[in-house]
């Protein structure tokens, strides 16, 4: 004990510990700066590689080429040899399937989370909640297998009903369904947290004013949880825009577009990057990075846009 105290008040030790502290702080700060710089690294490198098809020369069969930037942005056909690439229709396709997936996912998620928090008996609610958590942790490749195995068969069936031919079920509709199934757990989990966080007094106030439980649930609770639900939607949109593996197995990677017909094959930014990946050098490889740049920009823009909307609707009365 005496030795310990002497150690503690020994000026040399104190100086030692002060230096130690400074070093530790510096190390931790360096680590944090490194982590923060990751995103910069990502954007810079993808940008450098992705801008290359437009400003550097590529030699194909002895002739050097570049890709036309505006043609790339507006194009309605992915590839025409040797150097014409067009990604405009892909952007439209990506937004289209995301929008449709949202149309299916948002009502489902909101109703399910209302069910979990308010309407179902406690036990049932927690079981359903657990099921949703499990669904959220299933890897996307398994969703892809499920899509190829079951969803394409369902789409083929519906295509048969309206007498339209799909390519064995590989279609826009299959893509939309797989995306919807994948983002529903995300939105549901966040909405559930949000609904659970609605203050008891608001609920009690509504009930005291004579509203029925159901009216309270649907009108009051949902409105109060609005911004949390919307936060879930934003996350869901991010997931849908970035999903690659699962939809690559059911989208078909159409050559041109844009595709609005539900039963035709489609091509999104992520499927373009993932499918047909054979080469590791050359124009065909680098152009995928250009598509990557587009994806990053689109995700950034939608995030900013949706956050602005969220702030506007987030005012709880």
């Amino acid at each position: 004990m005496g030795k310990y105290l002497t150690n503690q008040i020994n000026p040399n030790n104190i100086k030692h510990r002060a230096i130690n502290d400074k070093i530790t702080k510096a190390i931790f700060m360096a680590i944090t700066v490194l982590c923060a710089l990751v995103i910069v690294l990502i954007v810079i490198f993808v940008f450098i590689k992705g801008i290359s098809p437009f400003i550097n020369d590529y030699i194909i069969d002895g002739i050097s080429y570049r890709v036309n930037f505006w043609g790339f942005l507006r194009g309605d056909f992915w590839f025409q040899p040797p150097n014409i690439y067009g990604a405009g229709f892909i952007i439209i396709n990506t937004m289209y399937v995301t929008l449709l997936a949202l149309l299916i996912a948002v009502p489902t998620s909101v109703f399910t989370s209302l069910f979990i928090s308010k309407i179902a008996p406690k036990k049932v609610g927690s079981i359903v909640s657990y099921i949703v958590e499990l669904l959220a942790s299933i890897p996307s490749i398994i969703y892809g297998l499920f899509g190829v195995g079951i969803i394409t068969k369902i789409v083929k069936f519906f295509a048969g009903l309206v007498n339209y031919q799909s390519a064995g079920g590989i279609s826009t509709l299959a893509t939309v369904l797989v995306l919807a199934i994948m983002i529903i757990p995300t939105i549901t989990m966040l909405s559930t947290t949000s609904i659970n966080a609605v203050k008891k007094d608001i609920i009690n106030g509504s009930l005291a004013l004579g509203a029925s439980v159901t009216q309270t649930n649907f009108k009051v609770v949902l409105t109060s949880a609005k911004s949390g639900i919307f936060a879930g939607v934003i996350l869901g949109v991010g997931r849908a825009l970035g999903e690659a593996t699962a939809i690559s197995m059911v989208a078909g990677n159409a050559g041109g577009g844009p595709t609005f017909n539900l039963f035709d094959t489609t091509r999104t930014l992520t499927t373009t990057m993932l499918l047909g990946l054979k080469e590791t050098l050359g124009l065909d490889y680098d152009i995928r990075f250009s598509v990557g740049i587009l994806l990053i920009i689109i995700i950034l823009l939608t995030n900013i846009l949706l956050n602005v909307v969220k702030r506007k609707i987030g005012k709880v009365k």
């Binding site: 056909f77 519906f158 295509a159 007498n163 064995g168 609005f260 590791t280």
Partner: protein, 324 residues
């Protein structure tokens, strides 16, 4: 209330989109006739499946049916085509689609579950390929690297080329449905292996990279697996991405890149005169193969001509009923 309307709205939009699926908004064709959903295949539109532009099978197919413009250019194809990256994907695509048509290697026809169409009145069989009556044929070729950074690798590849001339290798090719004749005058590996002392060493630390055509993949894997047991158990790594990469990754622009190959295969001839000037003695023929126009086994159509195939792929023939 709002959520309820939201829900009804989304359901209505959803249903209308599905219904609108019957009429086209994009440039793809569709059938609008009010026939029953269990209509025969004949009423239906033809769904076209093709390989990607690096495929030798695609090259052979379009060239032989006189549609050369489409070999490298997807814009020449009828809209709504489905592009697949390998022979196996093509088989799966057409297997899942009763209205589909595609083209596959004859060597994979038997196990594919698809129906091979009679081409210009000739059945797609090995016999008809050997006697020259089936014309949609092409060779399976090999090409090897000329510059090595490792002499043992070079010797193993040399031994491999010699192995290809033996009865054992030829029998393996035949077993995998390659078409060639095995003569009793062909050497046996036992007799020539003394010329290749590298094969008596332990080569398990060496990896030989194989690649190229996906149509040749089955044959290539069987050959390398067998030869590995005969030549020191080297590790054979296969990465088949299409005939276009055969020359490119052994002697062409990617021969020193991350996906370089030592031995590659192509399901077409090498363009020696322009883009693929392979060094002499570095390439050769493995066997003959044929391309078969294949449809789903439920399809009632059984024969087709070159003119019809061109019409189907360029979009002038759109319905199965137009093929009598």
């Amino acid at each position: 209330m709002k959520k309820f309307l939201n829900l009804i709205g989304s359901v209505i939009i959803g249903l209308s989109l599905v219904a609108c699926g019957g009429t086209s908004t994009s440039s793809s064709s569709s059938s609008t006739s009010p026939s029953s959903s269990s209509s025969s295949v004949n009423d239906a539109n033809i769904k076209v499946y093709t390989r990607d532009t690096t495929s030798g099978t695609r090259d052979g197919f379009f060239t032989t049916i006189k549609f050369e413009e489409a070999v490298k250019d997807n814009t020449k194809l009828v809209s709504g085509y489905v592009e697949l990256a390998s022979n196996g994907d093509m088989i799966n695509g057409v297997k899942n689609d009763e209205f589909g048509i595609g083209y596959i290697s004859l060597s994979t026809l038997e196990t594919s579950g698809l129906k091979g169409l009679v081409y210009e009145n000739v059945q797609p069989t090995e016999a008809n390929v050997l006697n020259g009556t089936y014309k949609l044929t092409r060779n399976f070729n090999y090409i090897v690297r000329t510059e090595y950074d490792n002499t043992r690798k070079e010797q193993i590849v040399d031994a491999y080329l010699a192995f290809l001339t033996t009865k054992e290798a030829k029998a393996t090719v035949v077993e995998k449905h390659g078409i060639l004749e095995i003569k009793s005058s062909d050497p046996s590996w036992q007799t020539i292996k003394s010329n290749y002392p590298i094969c008596n060493q332990d080569n398990s630390d060496i990896t030989i990279y194989f690649g190229g055509s996906t149509s040749v993949e089955g044959i290539a894997k069987a050959l390398s697996a067998e030869f590995s047991t005969l030549c020191g158990n080297f590790v054979a790594e296969h990465n088949h991405t299409g005939s276009g990469d055969a020359y490119k990754r052994t002697q062409g622009s990617e021969k020193d890149g991350a996906s370089k190959l030592d031995i590659a295969f192509a399901s077409r001839e090498f363009k020696l005169a322009d883009s693929e000037p392979a060094a002499t003695e570095s390439y050769g023929k493995i066997c003959v193969d044929a391309i078969v126009a294949a449809v789903n086994s439920k399809n009632t159509v059984s024969k087709v001509t070159a003119v019809q195939l061109k019409g189907i792929y360029e979009g002038t023939i759109t319905k199965w009923s137009q093929l009598s």
